[in-house]
C-alpha cells in the first residue's frame, strides 16, 4: 500500500517522466493505481489517469485480437 502511494507521489512530482514499469500489475484492491500518461490512438494527445481524478473509472486493458 505504502509503495503504491509513494509511486503515485513520485508520478505527480515527476509528471514529465514516463513511468517505466509497474512493479507488479495489476495493483491489489485497496491500492492506488499508478498514474500514467499515454497517447490517445486517434488524436495522439497525451491522456493521464490522474486527469480523471474525482470520477469513477473503469480501466480496460485489452487488445483487438
Amino acid at each position: 500500500m505504502i509503495s503504491w502511494v509513494l509511486l503515485l507521489i513520485f508520478g505527480l512530482f515527476f509528471s514529465e517522466t514516463a513511468l517505466t514499469a509497474a512493479p507488479s500489475y495489476p495493483p491489489q484492491v485497496g491500492e492506488a493505481h499508478p498514474d500514467f500518461v499515454l497517447t490517445e490512438i486517434d488524436s495522439r494527445q497525451p491522456v493521464s489517469l490522474s486527469q480523471f481524478r474525482g470520477k469513477k473509472v473503469l480501466l480496460i486493458n485489452f487488445a483487438s485480437w
Binding site: 509528471s15 514516463a18 495489476p26 500514467f36
Partner: protein, 399 residues
C-alpha cells in the same frame, strides 16, 4: 469488450462513470479500426511497449475517485451495486482532476540517463522516444534501450521494448536488414525470463507458427473493413500489410501436399538474381525451438530502389519453393504471393509459412533452404527477367 461497452454506455451518459481503454498491442491503426468497427465511444490509449505491465487481456479495473483500485475483474451483474453506487469518499469532497498532461521532456530524460547511467533512466528515455515520437527518433529509442541492456543484458522490460522498436523500424522506410529477426529474438529472450507474460507471448504468437497459435489474431480485419464501408464510413487505413501468419487460423497438424507440388526448378537451371534486383530478407519466429516443435518463416521481397527495379505483374506471381530435410513438415512446399492488377509495381511482398521439426533432433543450428522465383524488371524501360533467388534460414534446436 463489446458487452461491457454496451452495458456501461448509459452510466457514462449519466456522468457516473468514465471508461478508459488501453490497447496492449503493437499497432495503433488496427486497434483504431477495431474501435471504429465496434463503435467504441470512449478514449482508447495506445501502449505498444506494455508500459502498464499487464500480463493478460482483457483486464478490467474499477478505480474510485481518489485513484484507488476497488475491483480487479469486476462482474457486470453487480458492478452498479458494488462500485457505482458505493461511496468511497466517506463524506469528503471528490478530489480535483489533475491538469491535462503533456509529453515528457526528452531533453531532461536524456540528461538524466547520461548522468545516472541507470537502467531505469535509459529505459525511461527509450519509453519517451518510443511513445511520443515517430520514426524520426526511432534510432535514438533503439540506442537508449540498448544502453540499458549493456548495463543488464537480462532486463526483460528493455528486451521487449527494444523488440517493439525493431519491428516498428522494420515496418518503416528506414528498415534495416535483420530488424524483424531482432524483434522476434528479443521478445523470445524476454519471454524466457517471464513465461507468464501473455502480452509478450501473444506478440510472438502473432507472427509464429499456426501449430502454436491460440487463435487467428487479425482475421476480423477484412470483415471490419467491409462492414464499416457498408455503413458509409471510410475504414481506418492499415498502414503496414498483415502477414499471413497474423490472419491464419490455428491448425493442429499440417496437411501434406508433397504429392501435389513439385519443385519448379529442381536442377537449379534458372538464372540467379546476382545483382539484388529484389532485396530478400528472411526471419524465423521463434528462431530457437525444441525438437518436435514448430516455427514460422517470414520472407520479405522488396524491389531495389537504387536499381529502379519493379515487379512485372503480367507474368506468374512470386513463388517460393521450400526445401526441407527428411522428416520435417510444412503446410505447403510451393507458395505464392498475390500480385496487384497494375502491370508494374514496387511494393514489398511477403510470404510466410510454418515448419514442424521432427522429434529427436540434436541441439544445434540447422539450415533450411528455399528458393524464390519472380519476374522483375530493371530501370524504366529496362529488361525484365525471370530470376531465382536462393534463400537460407537458420533454426536453433535447443534442449
Amino acid at each position: 469488450m463489446p458487452v461491457w461497452h454496451k452495458a456501461t454506455q448509459e452510466w457514462v451518459k449519466q456522468g457516473r462513470l468514465i471508461v478508459l481503454g488501453i490497447a496492449q498491442e503493437q499497432h495503433a491503426d488496427r486497434c483504431s479500426l477495431y474501435a471504429q468497427w465496434q463503435k467504441f465511444d470512449f478514449p482508447i490509449l495506445h501502449d505498444p511497449i506494455n508500459l502498464m505491465g499487464a500480463k493478460v487481456v482483457p483486464l478490467m479495473l474499477a478505480i474510485d475517485e481518489t485513484g484507488v483500485v476497488r475491483a480487479v475483474g469486476p462482474k457486470l451483474e453487480d458492478f452498479e451495486d458494488t462500485f457505482l453506487n458505493k461511496d468511497f469518499l466517506a463524506g469528503a469532497s471528490a478530489p480535483s482532476p489533475a491538469a491535462k498532461p503533456s509529453a515528457p521532456d526528452i531533453d531532461a530524460l536524456q540528461k538524466e540517463a547520461k548522468q545516472s547511467n541507470s537502467i531505469e533512466a535509459w529505459r525511461s528515455l527509450g519509453d519517451g522516444l518510443t511513445l511520443w515520437h515517430g520514426p524520426d527518433r526511432l534510432d535514438e529509442a533503439i540506442s537508449a534501450y540498448s544502453h540499458s541492456l549493456q548495463i543488464d543484458p537480462t532486463d526483460n522490460l528493455s528486451q521487449f521494448r527494444l523488440g517493439v522498436c525493431f519491428l516498428r523500424r522494420h515496418e518503416s522506410e528506414s528498415r534495416q536488414p535483420g530488424d524483424f529477426q531482432k524483434a522476434a529474438d528479443l521478445w523470445g529472450k524476454a519471454l524466457e525470463t517471464d513465461p507468464n507474460q501473455y502480452i509478450w507471448r501473444r506478440r510472438i504468437q502473432q507472427y509464429g507458427p499456426r501449430l502454436n497459435k491460440p487463435y487467428p489474431f487479425y482475421d476480423w480485419i477484412r470483415q471490419a473493413q467491409t462492414e464499416v464501408k457498408e455503413r458509409g464510413e471510410d475504414p481506418v487505413t492499415i498502414q503496414f500489410p498483415l502477414s499471413g501468419s497474423e490472419i491464419a487460423q490455428p491448425v493442429r497438424k499440417f496437411l501434406a501436399d508433397s504429392e501435389k507440388s513439385s519443385s519448379p526448378d529442381p536442377d537449379g537451371l534458372l538464372d540467379r538474381d546476382t545483382t539484388g534486383l529484389i532485396e530478400v530478407e528472411a526471419a524465423v519466429v521463434p528462431s530457437r525451438i525444441r525438437s518436435g516443435k514448430s516455427t514460422r518463416v517470414h520472407i520479405d521481397f522488396l524491389p531495389s530502389e537504387s536499381l529502379e527495379a519493379h515487379w512485372n505483374n503480367e507474368a506468374e506471381p512470386l513463388q517460393v519453393w521450400v526445401e526441407l530435410p527428411e522428416g520435417w513438415e510444412t503446410e505447403s512446399l510451393l507458395l505464392e504471393a498475390p500480385q496487384p492488377e497494375e502491370i508494374e509495381s514496387t511494393e514489398m511482398r511477403h510470404i510466410d509459412f510454418g515448419i514442424l521439426t521432427p522429434e529427436g533432433l540434436e541441439p544445434g543450428l540447422v539450415s533450411i533452404t528455399a528458393y524464390a522465383l519472380y519476374y522483375v524488371c530493371e530501370g524504366k524501360n529496362g529488361t525484365c527477367q525471370f530470376l531465382r533467388k536462393d534463400i537460407k534460414m537458420q533454426i536453433e534446436i535447443v534442449n
